[in-house]
Amino acid sequence: MTFENFNRLIAGISLQHEVKFDLNARPNAVLLSPDDLIPVCETLYRNPATYFDMLSCITGIDNGPAAGTMEVAYNLYSIPFDLHLMIKVILPREAAAVESVSHIWKSADWLEREVFDMYGIHFKNHPDLRRILMPADWEGHPLRKDYKHQEYYRDIKVEY
């Protein structure tokens, strides 16, 4: 999806922050502020000109303590129009939180749970935000760049 089309698409909704574009990403990426995520997603989903009906993937990215930011990348795909779009949201590393999109795409339910599990990013208004891959009493979020695993889990040495 080209950026001109995207700009035309979001012209109708009032956004709180400026939209930036990442030309280095394939498919093309749009950088949104976390406040604007839900209105843009709803527009993309409902607009008959785009109709992004499938949310393929949600990726959490930790840029490390030095950068102090985390990112969530959403990969959208429109089956009828064969359009790709990546949406990226940059969050502060401390108390990272973003609105859940699971009321728009049901596939977001488990994908967001996985991002929460691995990065500790909180998804507001998620129906069931529990850990999904790690045990419920595991300490820490393993894919953070500064993650240090616990020494023992249930008397089992974690280091192998």
Binding site: D22, N24, A25, R26, P27, A29, D53, M54, L55, S56, C57, T59, G60, I61, A73, N75, I79, D82, H84, M86, K88, W105, K106, S107, D109, W110, L111, E114, M118, D128, R130, R131, I132, L133, M134, P135, A136, D137, P142, L143, R154, D155, I156, K157
Partner: protein
């Protein structure tokens, strides 16, 4: 640690602390009960645990608990160079390792910008082995599905036929299941001399066997009674839930990434995309899903035959052909984000890469696994059904837990 020391002391509370039930006993209505199914149960295809809220035989709610086979793929991916991740990629969907490798190698090649330069022969070999593996994976799916609901013989027949595929792939790559055959920029080796003939022999052998499978399993009255109109997945729910692969096609959408994206040499190959037509009463039921897989085996055989024609004709092996010629010595893509996707037997396998441009190791290597997303639709379609139908639905989704848990 001394070897005589007990590594793990069992405490009764451990189970409820590590994976507590979502449903609470105090919230149950009259006659309702919580039944635990799995993780060690043959019908869950590995280690899937289901927390089932039941009233007599009727299932009211299903809560899947996963993660019992979590092997930290993404953590490994962030700590190893791109080429050393391939063996871990094999272990995602371990019954279709070639397909996983194909998608992964395609992604890294796209980041390096060498995707267009890959020799045609290499691409045809990749497609050939991937389609062989797709047949093997569908054999497992159909065979174990029959076993789930009481048909024992088809499983043995299909395992017997799958063995021929595994031996072919072992001949090419040296291992039976986890190949590490498709490399970034090429192949481990060219096909062994005589492989094409043996592969043709296999195609001749397998073709009359498939109608036998149709007779004994697909059209069998008992099988139809157990699967027709069970676990119907409507198309809108399927798309909204991100379901892909044979399950989405069984719900009636002609959506196959081999055709939609047209990656590798698939645009040059003639094949059909079977979709569910509701021949047994409802579009998108368990029978349709099995039948779509069965038809895909025929289509894969067609693809294999065309690949063999090309590999013995237009792109025949030459003395100076080196499948490793384009394998880069140093894999260091420019700084970028890339999402790549491809069709594996279960659906859309995607990889999200972030390269920082400074190292051979991916900054982020995320795997979007299709079994994971496909399984998330289970609670939606398993409401108000019988417990026996729940087993039929799990089997028809065809999850491989290695890919769900990564």
């Amino acid at each position: 640690m001394p070897t005589d020391q007990i590594q793990y002391r069992y405490q009764p509370g451990n189970l409820t602390r590590s994976e507590p039930n979502k449903l609470r006993p105090e919230n149950l209505r009259a006659e309702e009960m919580i039944i635990n199914l799995g993780p060690q149960h043959p019908s869950t295809h590995g280690v899937l645990r289901l927390e089932v809220l039941m009233d007599g035989e009727i299932v009211h709610e299903v809560v899947p608990h996963i993660g019992y086979l979590h092997r930290c793929f993404e953590k490994h991916g962030e700590n190893l160079p791109y080429n050393q991740v391939i063996p871990f990629v094999d272990r995602l969907d371990y019954v279709a390792a070639m397909n996983n490798e194909h998608v992964y190698a395609m992604g890294v090649e796209r980041m390096l910008g060498i995707e267009e330069q890959i020799p045609k022969r290499v691409e045809y070999v990749r497609v050939l082995v991937a389609e062989l593996n797709r047949i093997a994976s569908h054999f497992i799916a159909i065979g174990t599905y029959g076993m789930d609901i009481g048909a024992f013989t088809p499983f043995f027949w299909l395992m017997r036929d799958r063995e021929h595929i595994l031996r072919l792939l072992e001949w090419a790559s040296g291992s039976r299941l986890l190949y590490n055959y498709i490399w970034i920029g090429g192949l481990f080796y060219d096909l062994p001399v005589g492989f094409e003939d043996r592969c043709r022999e296999f195609v001749r052998y397998i073709k009359p066997k498939l109608p036998e499978l149709e007779t004994i399993l697909i059209d069998n009255t008992i099988f139809v009674d157990r699967t027709a109109k069970v676990g119907v997945l409507p198309l809108d729910l399927a798309i909204n839930s991100g379901v892909t692969g044979p399950i989405l096609r069984a719900s009636g959408l002609r959506y196959d990434l081999r055709r939609v994206d047209g990656y590798s040499v698939y645009p040059e190959i003639d094949f059909d995309i079977p979709v569910g037509e509701g021949r047994m009463g409802a579009v998108g039921d368990c029978w349709d899903r099995t039948f779509v897989r069965y038809q895909e085996i025929h289509e894969s055989l067609r693809i294999i035959e065309q690949c063999l024609d090309k590999l013995t004709g237009e792109h025949i092996r030459t003395r100076d052909f080196d499948p490793q010629a384009l394998v880069p010595k140093k894999i260091r893509p420019k700084a970028q984000d890339l999402y790549v996707r491809g069709e594996i037997p279960k659906g859309e396998l995607g990889f999200f890469f972030r390269a920082d441009g400074k190292s051979d190791i991916p900054f982020r290597c995320k795997c979007r696994s299709c079994s994971f997303v496909n399984l998330s639709v289970l609670p939606e379609i398993a409401k108000g059904i019988l417990l026996a139908d729940l087993i039929a639905i799990i089997g028809s989704i065809d999850v491989v837990m290695g890919e769900v848990d990564r």
